[in-house]
Amino acid sequence: MLSDHDHRLLKLIQQDCRLTPEELAIQTGLTVENITHKIREWEDQNVIVQYRPLINWERAGHESVSALIDVKVLPQRGYGFDKIARRLQKFPEIKAVYLMSGGYDLSLLIEGRTMQEVALFVAEKLAPLEHIQSTTTHFVLRRYKQDGIELISGDEAPQRLMISP
């Protein structure tokens, strides 16, 4: 079980991984040594997998296309869905692979530069794979929120009074 302290520390790192152990120590009341040790442990255990920023590519002026693909798969004896999922996750074009409940089995997130590129990947690489029964492609038209962050807010931040009792 994750302790309250650890949970809070991980959340804080997740919100802003640029915070130094010294800054984390000030804000949490834990010691720098304790925090450094914890972080190293989490890195070793792959609890903290990577440190990277959330980039709004659209705003940066970079055009790209994403699609969510519903995939129906024939499960394999002895392996279930694992074998095909592991095979799929090797493709660099595939950014996420989820096993789903409901009407289909796997959900894939694919990114490419153009719709054409994504469509070709699905038609030429994905659909012909053994054990894949069918695919349905849904192109992402706009990203409003990602990883808990609102990408399109537009509204101006409401203003507080400068001084109030």
Binding site: R8, I26, P158, R160, M162, I163, P165
Partner: protein, 386 residues
């Protein structure tokens, strides 16, 4: 036209905050740590329920005491979190912010000749509301050396036989002080011995960073002697909704409701509906806000101590109250010069009563980036004077 004014109102001193407010309004690029409200926006689920109620056309008056469903939720909430038992039918009144409840309580209880005992420093409304009833106020000083807790010795010193009401306000604005159960027990004993009533404004109770909050009314024998005031402004970031409440003995609540029915009629229905949602489903959002305040609190206390100022560790609300006497400036001088030289707005401690001298109130209801920038500016200012 001043000759027409009620002399009591005419003699009320202007709020010590007003002067600063006017000054700050004329300046640009000011970082303000002067705000007494959360920087968070009301949790979406709460806003959404208010919007939905408007869409449904819930735009009417409610009963004077507030929507019964809200009073029921409140009694459930108070029982679960503070162990306070109230009857939703007769012992809870929903008000326009806890501020209205302060005014109602003073008017329902005090008459000319009575005395209200008010901790010093404390929130700016208590003394004026008491004075407007024709009563007198006696300040009970609190000190940094005692973590700004109210001590029974100081209470005894300020006491007079005309004293009828004691105001308690913990966690405290502006000091951030809290009172534990052990701290409160001797006060309760004093209250019983001297037959006082207590107005306990516990609006910051959810913002307690160590241990758990003890409601004064939960102490032995204190339920019937206490008006428990609170509201949604601080815990749920709902200042602009203006929604608060008071729980207490039915005789007192009935008297307060009578004034409320003639002056306010009822709290706004949209805010009442949103408050129900806040109690039902904003607990997680609240906990996240509290965790953020706690981190900022540590950041600010650390920052002031690094500057060489003594700063007692506040364990509640969202203010730090550092001691600035090392700069040889008065609270007002400090705040004014800091504003002019470094464009940081803080509130002089004296705005909250004479015992606030030598301190400034800094709110940490700001993002850590803003707090870091403010600390940098303040430390430049302080170093020039040490």
């Amino acid at each position: 036209m001043k000759r027409f004014l009620n002399p009591t109102v005419a003699s009320l001193p202007p709020s010590g905050i007003r002067k600063f407010f006017d000054l700050v309004a004329t300046m640009k690029d000011v970082i303000s740590l002067g705000v007494g409200e959360p920087d968070f926006i009301t949790p979406w689920t709460v806003r959404e329920s208010g919007i939905f109620s408007l869409e449904q056309g819930q735009t009417m008056y409610t009963s004077n005491a507030g929507i019964l469903e809200l009073r029921q939720e409140l009694t459930r909430h108070l029982a679960l979190t503070l162990g306070l038992i109230y009857n939703p039918e007769s012992e809870i009144l929903v008000t326009v912010g806890a501020s209205e409840a302060v005014d109602l309580a003073m008017r329902a209880l005090l008459a000319p000749g009575d005395v209200a005992l008010v901790p010093d420093p404390s929130y700016v409304s208590y003394a004026p509301c008491a004075i407007m009833t024709g009563a007198d106020v006696r300040y009970v000083p609190t000190r940094a050396s005692e973590q700004f807790r109210l001590r029974v010795e100081d209470l005894a010193e300020a006491y007079t036989p005309e004293a009828k009401l004691l105001v308690l306000s913990y966690p405290n604005n502006p000091t951030g002080a809290i009172m534990t159960r052990e701290d409160l027990l001797p006060i309760a004993e004093f209250v019983r011995e001297h037959d006082l009533l207590v107005l306990s404004d516990e609006i910051y109770s959810d913002l307690t960073y160590e241990g758990s909050h003890t409601a004064f009314a939960s102490l032995p024998g204190m339920w019937e002697r206490t008006l428990h005031l609170s509201g949604f402004s601080k815990s749920y970031a709902m200042t602009g909704w203006r929604i608060g409440y008071v729980g207490g003995h039915p005789d007192l609540i009935q008297a307060m409701t009578r004034i409320h029915q003639y002056t306010i009629l009822c709290a706004p229905i949209t805010a009442q509906v949103a408050a129900i949602e806040a109690l039902r489903s904003a607990e997680t959002a609240k906990q996240e806000m509290v965790a953020a305040y706690d981190r900022r609190r540590r950041l600010l206390v650390h920052g002031f101590r690094e500057m060489g100022l003594s700063c007692f560790e506040p364990l509640g609300a969202f203010y730090v109250f550092p001691d600035i006497t090392a700069t040889k400036l008065s609270s007002e001088e400090f705040a004014e010069q800091l504003l002019h030289e470094e464009k940081v707005a803080v509130v002089p401690g004296t705005a909250f009563g004479p015992s606030g001298e030598g301190h400034i109130r800094c709110s940490y209801a700001y993002s850590t980036e803003q707090l870091k920038e403010a600390l940098e500016r303040i430390s430049r200012f302080v170093w020039r004077r040490l």
